[in-house]
Each structure stands twice: as structure tokens, then as C-alpha cells.
């Protein structure tokens, strides 16, 4: 693919849209990175990428987790689930390869049958392209409300560098007309190239990755390009934003991306969750956003840039409205989920994640 030399136009719908509800979910179990190090490197704790990661319980999967996040989003939206006209879930760990998670979730939360539904995939950003689609769905007046979820129970290959960070969690957003919105989506921009930094073939259990190749040519190139293009086209810089949140595969990458784009550590602090919950893949940037929204004030401007391997980045320019204050508290906050913590060791983790071969 070639990048056109002239500035691309930003993605804006015909009528203004926004998030009318948001909800998080993080499972309670935590595997400390030093536990992984204890098993695999003889306890080498220098330079661990995170403190600990969230691990799904025995009966949890993307479907169960999405249901709870969706209920939180509905509570904040204050609409009936029957008003939803789309339920879209992005993940790289859908419980079925064929049979959408979204139909189970839709029925479980009480949505009607009059819905568009489907599962989305784009490695770690599978939620945000559904947000872009929902912007078009609602923005074109095809419908008023669409539920979008990015959720994952990422599987880390034992002994691999990513085992420290591959985690579970995610967020749900209800997109609706701007008049009811807690957050207005001013514009979006997507940047995509054929960059094979991380992949999993159909019958492979674990993904593979290009080690150092996942950095500069993949994560940094796509996130900085999407964010810069969005900001330059809007005529703004990092100083015009109150908060920023990026895809968080580890602690260092989003910190460095923020620095490259001119954001301060304070701007990304409330949304930087990876040190304590790990990389929630499709949930990553949008879960970080829920933590920001939990403390946001009316008028706060927020930049979000996701990243999905393969590779691409969706950037969003958001503004918080007056309605946030009365609706933040209508569901569990993200920090509540993070504080709800049960530490496990590697043996329990191995049993929970089905790594132990039983036959």
C-alpha cells in the first residue's frame, strides 16, 4: 500500500455521535511478573515489563466478561438494552472460531433480536474498528444505539517474553447520538499497512511474533502516524489535550509513544493500566479510556490511539460533556475492578489457563 501525499480526510459521521455509556471489566486474579520469572529465568526481576497481569477465572471467557462490561455500560447509558440495534465484539480470543460471541452476549444482556451482530478481529485493536463502524452506523442515522466491546483472554506461550503481559480484560461502549453522550467523538482516523509483526495461524495454539520487529516498524510507526495525522489535520498538538491513552502492550511502549507525540507523563497516567493488569489486547486502549472517563471532568479533551498487529492504528479525538459527572458513578469504576485482586502463583495460573496437558 502507498500513503497518499496529500492529507487524508478524517472520519466524521453525518450527525455528531458519542459514547452514551461505558463499562469496564477486569478479572480478579493476578499473576505477578516475578512469578513468571521465578519459573522461567531463575527469578531474574530486572527489567520486567509489568508488575502483574490479570488472569480470567475458570468459568470466565470473552463472552462472560463482555456481558458484565456491557451491563456496566448500559447502567451508565440509562437506556434499555432493547434499544440497541447492533452488538459488536472485537477480540483475538473469541471462544468460538465460528459462532459469534456477540449473539450470546446480546441475548444475555436482554437485547432484542432486531440487531446487527458480529465478531471483529484485528489483533489487539479489535474493539476500536467496531467503534469506527458504529460511528458510521449511528452517524448515518441507520440506528440510534450500538454496543461495541473490545475484550480478550490473551493466551501467552509458556516461556515466551509475552507470557509476562498477555492478560484478560476489556471494555464496552454504547455509541449514540451526541445529544445524549457523555463523550463526543469529534473525529477518527485509521492508518493501516501490511506489517506482519505478530500473528497466529488457524490451528496454532499460541501466536508468534517478530521480537524487535514489533517495535519501531509496527507499534511506534502506526501509533505515531495515526495520532500525528489526526492531530495535524485538526490543527492541534499534545498541549490541546487533557488526557491521552495508547495501546499498552507493556509499560515502556506507551510511555515512549506519548513522549514521541509530545504528551507528558501526567497526561497518560490515569489511563496507563498495563503495569497492574498487563496487556488486555483488544481491551487495552479502550479499558485505559474507561479509567480516564471515571475521573474526567466536563470539557476534557482526550486522544486515544489503539494499535493492532498486522498492523494498524485507530486514533480518536474525544471531548467529555457535562453529562459525565452524574453518570460516572452509575457502575463499578475501573479502579474498583483493579483493586479487587486475588494473587495466584504460576501453578494455579497454569491450571486456570489450561496449559497443563491432561492427556
Amino acid at each position: 500500500m502507498t500513503t497518499p501525499t496529500s492529507s487524508p480526510s478524517l472520519l466524521k459521521p453525518s450527525r455528531p455521535v458519542g459514547f452514551i455509556g461505558y463499562g469496564a471489566y477486569v478479572p480478579r486474579y493476578r499473576l505477578p511478573a516475578r512469578e513468571v520469572a521465578r519459573v522461567w529465568t531463575g527469578g531474574r526481576v530486572a527489567g520486567l515489563p509489568v508488575k502483574e497481569k490479570a488472569v480470567p477465572g475458570f468459568d470466565e471467557d470473552v463472552i462472560t466478561m463482555s456481558i458484565e462490561a456491557a451491563k456496566n455500560a448500559l447502567a451508565r447509558a440509562g437506556i434499555s438494552p432493547t434499544e440497541l440495534r447492533a452488538v459488536w465484539i472485537g477480540s483475538e480470543s473469541h471462544p468460538y472460531a465460528v459462532k459469534p460471541s456477540s449473539t450470546v452476549v446480546a441475548e444475555a444482556i436482554g437485547a432484542s433480536a432486531n440487531i446487527q451482530a458480529g465478531d471483529w478481529e484485528f489483533a489487539c485493536k479489535a474493539g476500536t474498528e467496531a467503534i469506527v463502524a458504529a460511528m458510521g452506523f449511528v452517524g448515518s442515522k441507520m440506528a440510534d444505539y450500538a454496543l461495541v466491546i473490545g475484550m480478550d483472554t490473551a493466551q501467552g506461550k509458556p516461556g515466551d517474553a509475552l507470557e509476562y503481559t498477555a492478560a484478560a480484560g476489556g471494555a464496552a461502549y454504547i455509541i449514540g447520538p451526541a445529544e445524549n453522550a457523555l463523550v463526543i467523538i469529534n473525529a477518527s482516523y485509521s492508518y493501516v499497512t501490511d506489517t506482519p509483526d505478530f500473528w497466529r495461524r488457524e490451528y496454532q495454539k499460541y501466536p508468534e511474533h517478530g521480537v524487535r520487529f514489533t517495535g519501531e516498524p509496527a507499534y511506534f510507526h502506526h501509533i505515531t502516524t495515526s495520532a500525528k495525522t489526526l492531530m495535524e489535520t485538526l490543527g492541534v498538538t499534545a498541549k490541546d489535550y487533557k488526557w491521552a491513552v495508547f495501546h499498552q502492550p507493556n509499560t515502556k511502549f506507551p510511555q515512549r509513544a506519548a513522549q514521541m507525540l509530545g504528551f507528558t507523563p501526567e497526561q497518560i497516567a490515569p489511563g496507563l493500566l498495563v503495569p497492574v493488569i498487563g496487556n488486555t489486547y483488544s481491551g487495552s486502549s479502550i479499558l485505559g479510556l474507561t479509567a480516564i472517563l471515571d475521573i474526567a471532568q466536563p470539557g476534557d479533551r482526550i486522544l486515544l490511539a489503539s494499535f493492532g498487529s498486522g498492523a494498524g492504528s485507530d486514533a480518536f479525538d474525544l471531548t467529555v460533556t457535562d453529562r459525565i459527572t452524574e453518570r460516572q458513578g452509575k457502575a463499578l469504576k475501573t479502579q474498583d475492578y483493579i483493586a479487587r485482586r486475588t494473587e495466584i502463583d504460576y501453578a494455579i495460573y497454569a491450571r486456570m489457563r489450561g496449559i497443563i496437558t491432561m492427556k
Partner: protein, 387 residues
């Protein structure tokens, strides 16, 4: 005896060239060398490469690169001696021209080590060791070096961080080499805090795998183009020697002595008619810091057990009596596999021409380069001098 001149040199930056293929990388260096040689046309091409069949699924580089360089029809073949492939290719070019059977020889070293990751690369590198008795047991090149370093430190009471001087010197010099992979000096604390790879080796005791290509053109002095500028310094190959030792470490009479380095160095200085103290700079093969120490000792530049001290006491710096790794060495330039021996020759030529800039060794007239395969199971030594 007619002088064999290095008429042209070329090189690419050493780094992770994910967007440049093997043949394009080689051609960049070839084109630069041919241009630098002022229009000389090679009749033969000798390629130094060790891992392309493994990591790029590509053997038969002689035919491939001759064709891709627009030199279809010339004689071409690859020389393989693990890490010494570049040195072996240089020697082959030298022999061809010296014999009088080839007028102009093109020597090109090329390697792509970073297109693959993980165990596959380790496995490929381990083919340089004894497959049936070392590699099959899980012995990797790093592990070989670690065993030697551990024994050395025990025998000679080397303190912790005693080998830091090799990395410090390499990085300080690499800072002045625009083609080097790492161009920043490092502090002693950086070495001390470095992550262990295979103890006692830490991350700064091992050269980083990288991609790169270097090339040079050899010819007889009387065949230089008529318009060769009289002011342009002439660099000749004053000596060329290749020696082998046991492949497997466990077959060595004395594991802490690189017999092949000793033999090749002695042969080379005899050919050149010089003594060791006449060498103005030395490019040893610092795939691992322990190999640098053992090369200094086995070559006769330091007494046994004191090689590490030379580095620790700054006696290999650019301003010392024996500047080493003057443009970064394998550690800071980057380890571009079989291309290394040719990079060493290109850098030595640059020094002797007086064009090394920030890396320049004052009044450099005689340089020695040593290209090693494995723990000096092969050692190829050349002496280059300025006429």
C-alpha cells in the same frame, strides 16, 4: 614481487535491515566498491557468507550476486568458514590475483541475521560448532565463550567486570564510525548493570547479530587505472594466512590458547617481513570479549592471562600503543556474520588511507586484521600496509 592493491572499498551500514533483501544489500556494497575502484572490471567474485542457506533459504551466492550485480559470466563462488568467511573470501581474492590468473577480484561479504528470530537463529549459529558432539548437546556459540571466560577468570583471578574494557573501547570507537550499529560510548556502570546472557557473559560481552555487506576490489599495482590519482594512498595486502585448530572445544590441547591465531599471525608477520611492534592497529574478532583477550595473548600482543588487563588499563585505545577495534569492532560495528572479515579490511583500508575521521589512528601505516570462525577453529589473518 608485485603488490596486490585494495583498489576500491564499499560498505553498507550495519543494522537491522528488515526492508532490504540479501542481494540488494550485497549490491549496495559491490556498487560502492567498484565505483571507488575507478572502473576496474572484475574477472572473479568471492563471497564471504555463513548463514544464508539457513536463514535466507539461499545458497549459491556466487552465481546470484554476480548475476544481480550485472557481472554474469565472471567466475564466482562462496567461501565459508563460519565467522571467518569474510577473511577466507578476502584470502581467496588475494590468492587469485597474486597467482596472476585473475587480474581483478571482487570480494564481497554479506550476511542477514535479523530476518529471523529466536531459536532458529541460535540453531543456525550453532552449525559453526561440532554438530555431532557439541551442538547436538545444546552447546551454543555463547555457551562456548562462557565456558572459556569462566575458566579464564578462574585461572587468572580476573575480578568481576574485568572484561569491561573491551566493550568500553569498542563503543567509544564506534561512536566515530557512521556505518556502525552502535554509535554511543557507554559508561562502566552500564557494563556492570548489564543483563547476563550466559554467565559470566553479560549483554556487553557479546557482539550483536546484525545485517550488513562490505566489498573490496583487489588488483595488481600495474593494473591500476591510468587516471589513478597520484595523491591517493595505495593500500596493499602485505600478508595473508589461514590456520585451523580443532573444531570442538573439548579437543583443544589448551582451551585458553588460540593456536590458530598464533599460527596465522606468525605466518603473516613472516610474510610481511615485520615484527609485532610494527603493527599500528589491530582489528581482532571480538564476537565475545573473551575472544578479544585470547586473541591478544595468542597473537603475542599480551602475555597469557594479561590480555584482559590491556583493555582494562586503556592500552587498546585509539591513542595507545596498539589501538584495537578502531571503528567499533564486532561489538559496536555489529556482528554481520560472514561479512565481518571484509568489513575489517574495508575499515583497515580507510585507516591506512587516512580517511577514518574521528576514528583515525595517527600515522597508521601497518594494520592487522583477524577473522575468526567459532573459538578460533579457523583464524584468517591479513596484514595491510600503506605504500
Amino acid at each position: 614481487m608485485t603488490d596486490i592493491i585494495i583498489a576500491g572499498i564499499g560498505q553498507t551500514d550495519v543494522g537491522e535491515h528488515w526492508d532490504i533483501g540479501l542481494r540488494e544489500l550485497a549490491f549496495t556494497a559491490i556498487e560502492a566498491a567498484l565505483q571507488d575502484a575507478g572502473g576496474l572490471k572484475p574477472q572473479a567474485m568471492y563471497v564471504g557468507n555463513m548463514l544464508a542457506p539457513n536463514l535466507s533459504h539461499q545458497s549459491h551466492l556466487g552465481a546470484l550476486l554476480a548475476d544481480f550485480a550485472g557481472l554474469t559470466g565472471i567466475e564466482a563462488a562462496t567461501l565459508e568458514a563460519a565467522g571467518a568467511s569474510g577473511g577466507a573470501a578476502l584470502r581467496q581474492g588475494y590468492l587469485a590475483v597474486k597467482s596472476g590468473l585473475v587480474d581483478v577480484a571482487l570480494v564481497v561479504g554479506v550476511e542477514k541475521m535479523t530476518d529471523q528470530v529466536g531459536a532458529g537463529v541460535e540453531e543456525a549459529l550453532a552449525t559453526a560448532a561440532d554438530s555431532d558432539f557439541e551442538s547436538v548437546q545444546g552447546l551454543t556459540p555463547s555457551a562456548q565463550a562462557a565456558l572459556l571466560m569462566q575458566r579464564y577468570m578462574f585461572e587468572y583471578n580476573v575480578p568481576a567486570n574485568g572484561f569491561a574494557g573491551f566493550a568500553l573501547t569498542a563503543h567509544a570507537n564506534g561512536a566515530g564510525n557512521p556505518h556502525a550499529m552502535f554509535r554511543k560510548a557507554i559508561k562502566p556502570e552500564t557494563y556492570q548493570k548489564a543483563e547476563p546472557i550466559t554467565p559470566p557473559l553479560n549483554m556487553f560481552d557479546a557482539a550483536p547479530n546484525a545485517d550488513g555487506a562490505a566489498a573490496l576490489v583487489l588488483t595488481r599495482r600495474d593494473l591500476l587505472p591510468a587516471d589513478w590519482p597520484a595523491s591517493r594512498p595505495l593500500v596493499k595486502v602485505a600478508a595473508s594466512a589461514n590456520a585451523s585448530d580443532t573444531l570442538a572445544l573439548h579437543d583443544r590441547k589448551d582451551p585458553l590458547f588460540f593456536e590458530a591465531v598464533y599460527l596465522a599471525t606468525r605466518r603473516a608477520i613472516k610474510q610481511a617481513g615485520i615484527t609485532l611492534d610494527q603493527i599500528d592497529f589491530l582489528e581482532y574478532h571480538d564476537a565475545f570479549s573473551i575472544y578479544a583477550a585470547l586473541s591478544l595473548e595468542s597473537g603475542g600482543f599480551a602475555i597469557r592471562g594479561a590480555g584482559w588487563k590491556m583493555a582494562a588499563e586503556g592500552r587498546i585505545s585509539l591513542t595507545s600503543n596498539l589501538p584495537c577495534v578502531t571503528m567499533g569492532g564486532l561489538k559496536a560495528r555489529g556482528f554481520a556474520g560472514g561479512a565481518t572479515g571484509v568489513y575489517q579490511a574495508v575499515e583497515a583500508t580507510t585507516q591506512l588511507r587516512g580517511l577514518a575521521g574521528a576514528c583515525q589512528v595517527k600515522d597508521a601505516r601497518v594494520g592487522m586484521i583477524q577473522s575468526l570462525g567459532g573459538p578460533a577453529s579457523t583464524a584468517v589473518v591479513h596484514i595491510l600496509t600503506r605504500l
